[in-house]
């Protein structure tokens, strides 16, 4: 007679749609976009919100609850979402339209391009799950959204690091003329930049810390990782500067080039494919300025990414702090 020995299965790491990239115990702020939009809407009666069946998943539900008469549910119809946003703006309103980045960039591109960007309307597109912030695979991972959008004239692209960036960006996006695209971080969003002498200024890069050996140029959640990696590298006696570039377009080349025009190791860090994002933005600025400067990219590979748990995937594709540290040490030899 055989007996079955019950063995405890190892707990599997799973992929959640709305996975948090916050570290355990890290300070976070709930729904910074939704609350910032409500605050901005109190000050500016022209602000309206709309979404394509993703209000709860883009923190737009906070606005919808506060201003039901200024919120428009457009259903799972992204072309209508952006066409209607253009129409609302044509009547003098200031729409914030939310969906996932994949749908804004891939499915509704033509509507953003021709109905919003060409007439240079003040429509603010809010894209959830930018880059690798979900483990659901290519259907939801907008790894190439900035590459798609950078070629669009008039469109301002913002890749915020944390809740501080988002809270400060929202009123500036509403106040700026022309269309914007915000790479949304939602839910409990890490709060990082309050530790630094920092304010978000649309179109400006900011030096968050100085350092003699390496200069990081980063955007989005990778600025958080860059700051953590800089601390870790200090233990290896490597002194790292961090330049945060939350506005990808128009790009603050002046600030960035001033930092790159040194003999420090230059590294770009982005939550985006290595094609067409921050690295290539920096590279083109460097070449245009005639700097013979090597730049090392830390970015997602040019491929469709795996499904899985976010920590697993960030480790696999080189976005984790450990992988950043290892890459820099290898570069320094």
């Amino acid at each position: 007679m055989s007996t079955t020995v019950a063995t405890a299965k190892p707990k599997l790491k799973t992929s959640a749609m709305i996975a948090s990239f916050a570290d355990p115990g890290q300070k976070t702020t709930p729904a910074p976009f939704g609350h910032a939009l409500v605050k901005a809407a109190h000050d500016n009666g022209k602000i309206v919100g709309l979404t394509a069946d993703l209000g709860k998943y883009t923190d737009m539900h906070i606005f919808a609850k506060a201003f039901p008469e200024r919120f428009f549910q457009m259903g799972m119809a992204e072309q209508l979402l952006l066409g209607a946003a253009a129409g609302l703006a044509e009547t003098g309103l200031i729409p914030f339209a939310s969906t996932y980045s994949v749908f804004a960039a891939r499915r509704a591109y033509d509507f953003l391009c021709l109905d919003i960007a060409e007439p240079n309307l003040n429509v603010n597109i809010v894209g959830g799950l930018p880059g690798l912030t979900t483990g659901y695979g290519p259907s939801h991972q907008a790894t190439e959204d900035m590459a798609i959008f950078r070629g669009m004239p008039n469109l301002t692209i913002v890749d915020p690091c944390d809740s501080v960036d988002i809270e400060q960006a929202v009123p500036q996006l509403a106040a700026s003329e022309g269309p914007t695209y915000l790479r949304l971080l939602r839910g409990n969003v890490p709060t990082v930049l309050d530790e630094y002498d920092y304010t978000f200024e649309l179109g400006k890069a900011k030096v968050l810390r100085g350092g003699n050996d390496v200069v990081f140029v980063s955007s989005g959640l990778m600025t958080m990782r860059a700051l953590q990696a800089a601390d870790a590298l200090a233990k290896h006696n490597v002194d790292v500067a961090v330049v945060h570039t939350p506005t990808i377009k128009p790009f603050d080349a002046e600030t960035v080039l001033a930092e790159l025009n040194t003999d420090r190791l230059a590294v770009t860090l982005e939550n985006h494919t290595v094609v067409g994002g921050l690295f290539e933005t920096v590279a083109s600025a460097v070449v245009t300025a005639g700097l013979g400067k090597r730049v090392v990219p830390i970015a997602l590979p040019d491929r469709f990414l795996d499904a899985g748990a976010l920590p697993t995937l960030h480790e696999r594709y080189g976005l984790s702090v450990d992988k950043i540290v290892a890459k820099v040490l290898a570069e320094l030899g």
């Binding site: 259903g75 209508l80 003098g92």
Partner: protein
């Protein structure tokens, strides 16, 4: 006129003076379109001739606007989704006094305010940049929402073509307009049964069109789009039932490409119609002769 609607329509007949006034405007629009087409030697003349009655009814009878102040916020909005119909729209804008008639001859030329495909950034009175088909009705939904939310009584009229019924975005917008009960929105669909690659029923069958719009919740009427009396009656029916909150309305307009010019009406149908240099004068003469014969008493 064929009324295909679930709603009883008021039995109003537009009076003859009103019909004649719009017919005369349509005739001028057709002449403008031929003259513009001749300067270019080409153009979407067939579509302009087919849609002239619709455009005349809209600008001559329906829209509230100020010719000298095309951005006046109290205006009704007319959205041309089919950018290539701009030749007809420019003629209507001239008829409306928004664009000088003398400017029409610049159509399609370098540095003209009247490009081949209509764009809002170029032309006074042109509300949107059409051309990428299937956009107009989505923008119209946003405009109607925005105007209503701000307490405006302005209406939004979107001109689209039956070819645009191929685009999924048109139906996204049709659903959205009904969901939001945009009673201040009217769609005008030019059913000329022709698109770029040929007859609509050979490219992508869109019929039954009437039943589709009714199923999407719209107040639906189908008329002969070259019958001015029928067009005006359809607009009157909408006025009788419409309010800012309620069902959106659509007038499905069966039209004839090249209408009013037998030479073009009988020519093999083409999205982009070729007209020889010597034929333009023949077209004008046929247009004039035909108008005399069909004028109402």
């Amino acid at each position: 006129m064929t009324l295909s609607s679930t709603e009883a329509a008021p039995a109003a007949t537009p009076n003859a003076e009103r019909v004649d006034r719009i017919r005369a405007a349509a005739q001028r629009i057709r002449h403008h379109a031929l003259n513009m087409g001749e300067v270019q030697g080409q153009g979407y003349v067939g579509q302009a001739l087919g849609a002239a009655d619709m455009l005349a009814a809209v600008y001559g009878d329906q829209l509230t606007f100020r010719p000298g102040d095309p951005h006046w916020e109290g205006r009704d909005r007319f959205l041309l989704s089919t950018g290539h119909y701009a030749i007809g729209h420019y003629a209507a804008l001239a008829e409306a006094g928004i664009v000088p008639v003398s400017e029409l001859e610049t159509y399609g030329s370098d540095d003209s305010r009247l490009p081949m495909s209509g764009m809002s950034t170029y032309t006074p009175g042109m509300e949107i940049s059409g051309g990428s088909l299937g956009h107009g009705l989505t923008i119209a939904v946003g405009m109607a929402l925005g105007l209503r939310a701000q307490g405006s009584a302005s209406r939004v009229i979107n001109f689209l073509s039956d070819g645009e019924l191929d685009e999924g975005s048109t139906w996204e917008a049709a659903m959205g307009a009904h969901h939001h009960q945009l009673g201040n929105l009217t769609a005008l669909v030019d059913i000329n049964a022709l698109q770029a690659d040929g007859a609509t029923d050979t490219v992508l069958r869109t019929e039954p069109v009437t039943e589709k719009w009714e199923a999407f919740g719209w107040y639906t009427q189908r008329v002969d789009g070259n019958d001015v009396g029928a067009l005006l009656a359809a607009f009157d029916n909408i006025a009788a039932v419409a309010g800012p909150v309620g069902r959106p309305s659509v007038i499905l307009c069966d039209t004839k490409v090249g209408r009013g010019v037998p030479l073009l009406e009988t020519r093999e149908k083409a999205h982009f119609m070729r007209i020889e240099e010597h034929e333009w004068q023949i077209c004008r003469e046929q247009l004039t002769a035909g108008y005399g014969r069909t004028a109402s008493a």
